[in-house]
């Protein structure tokens, strides 16, 4: 080795310092994010430039799609099929779903990778209501939710699907669910990670097994409860 160049090894200190800061941020970042988010929420709501959506300030939505561009559906083209091991297979138009009793509540959307959006107002038909109307047979074990993107699907057990906080959501923030959020109709499951909340919902099939869906096939837990 040649002689070291002149000067103090500042580079090494900065690199180690950044790694330390990064580790600290992993442990404390969730709280910092929370604080930033509360501080900035009023600004973000009134930001005409859209700048705040470009930088990772606060708890912002991230929009996922596992296939190419998804053709939007509206009240005229939308239909939800309830099928499989049920006594009364049914197809609902958007207006049919809107005519059913609606449940409204506020809950966090939590992604398995870590990001989350707190206090989202949801409105929709309880999935258990739809299942009751269809009357699953004795052989029914699982529920498969499919997306009209043509690719995505996710599973729940029949019991999980009947939980109080699983809705076929028609509105978020008091407005119809937008296309980017998986509208006009999507699943929202409050106790589970976001990958369980199928966007662009087109079919609910009651099945004899609880088979893994799109992300479960790619390594995410079959149950997907938050905190696990």
């Amino acid at each position: 080795m040649g002689a070291d160049p002149d000067g103090a090894p500042v580079g090494r200190r900065v690199v180690l310092g950044l790694l330390g800061l990064g580790a600290l941020g992993v442990v404390a970042g969730s709280k910092v994010q929370q604080g930033l988010s509360e501080l900035l929420a009023p600004i973000q709501l009134r930001d005409p430039t859209g700048f705040t959506s470009l930088v990772p300030l606060g708890n912002t939505w991230r929009y996922y799609s596992v296939t190419g561009a998804v053709a939007p559906r509206d009240a005229t083209s939308y239909a939800l099929k309830v099928s499989g091991l049920v006594e009364r297979p049914t197809t609902y138009a958007l207006a049919d779903l809107e005519a059913l009793p609606q449940l409204s509540f506020t809950d966090t959307f939590q992604c398995v990778t870590g990001w989350h959006v707190p206090d989202v107002p949801w409105t929709g038909v309880r999935l258990s209501d739809l299942l009751d109307r269809a009357a699953p047979t004795d052989a029914a074990v699982g529920v498969r939710m499919r997306s009209f993107d043509g690719v995505y699907s996710v599973n729940m057990t029949l019991d999980q699907a009947r939980a109080d906080d699983v809705v076929v959501a028609l509105a978020m923030y008091g407005k119809p669910v937008t296309h980017d959020h998986g509208g006009p109709v999507r699943i929202y499951s409050g106790s589970m990670y976001g990958y369980k909340s199928t966007k662009w919902l087109s079919e609910i099939e009651v099945t004899a097994t609880n088979d893994p869906g799109y992300w479960e096939d790619r390594g995410y837990p079959l149950d997907g409860f938050i905190g696990e």
Partner: protein
């Protein structure tokens, strides 16, 4: 034709090229994954994510494998060391006039290299935690996402700045492309280094075995 000087060894140029390709893939896929409108237009989240994750895991490999080259190790040692003259250069408004004699790397290049190395490490660690979701608890994954986002934004800006300086300096680009630079450029931009090579100072830094 004016005399030219050896600036970067083939191994260093290869590392630079590989890092540039992987960094470019990481940043482009990062923008797709992060921005909602672009994600919705591109879609195919799993494919984009897989490309992003594996390019990111591969990114430090050439950076570390470069240590097999003596020239690379020698340059890393130069980048690591910061002198009082470097501090003066950073604070000076007329830093480009040559009054402060610059070695092989100026203070700005040194700071850039530290920040790139450090943030690459941070992005690697936080990325691993976000991708293999069973490794740490949820609140740490949220923290990792927070750190990953901000580090990526910072690193993206560093890379853009790096490219902007390169665009303005064809001779610096030639140095990285061919390995050689004109001695005139070296004397203007890196006077102390040019003197080291030309001014009979070769014995100060003997080639490593």
């Amino acid at each position: 034709m004016s005399e030219s000087l050896d600036r970067f060894a083939p191994a260093e140029r290869l590392v630079h090229r590989l890092v540039a390709i992987l960094m470019g893939i990481c940043l482009v896929t990062a923008v797709i994954l992060y921005n909602g409108s672009i994600m919705m237009a591109v879609g195919h989240r799993h494919l984009v994510e897989t490309v992003h994750v594996w390019s990111g895991l591969a990114l430090p490999v050439p950076m570390i494998a470069g240590a097999l080259s003596a020239a690379y190790r020698s340059d890393v040692r130069r980048l690591n060391r910061f002198t009082p003259a470097d501090w003066r250069w950073l604070r000076s408004r007329s830093r480009r006039d040559g009054a402060i004699r610059v070695g092989k790397f100026n203070a700005g290049q040194k700071v850039n290299s530290w920040l790139v190395a450090g943030s690459t490490g941070v992005l690697l660690g936080t990325g691993v935690v976000m991708y293999w979701t069973g490794l740490v608890r949820l609140s740490w994954r949220s923290g990792a996402t927070f750190v990953h986002d901000w580090s990526a934004l910072g690193l993206g800006l560093l890379v853009l700045g790096h490219i902007a300086y390169a665009v303005r300096d064809p001779e610096a680009r030639r140095g990285m492309r061919t390995g050689r630079v004109s001695s005139r450029w070296a004397r203007a931009e890196h006077a102390a280094w040019a003197e080291e090579l030309q001014g009979g100072a070769r014995e100060v830094l003997p080639p490593s075995p």
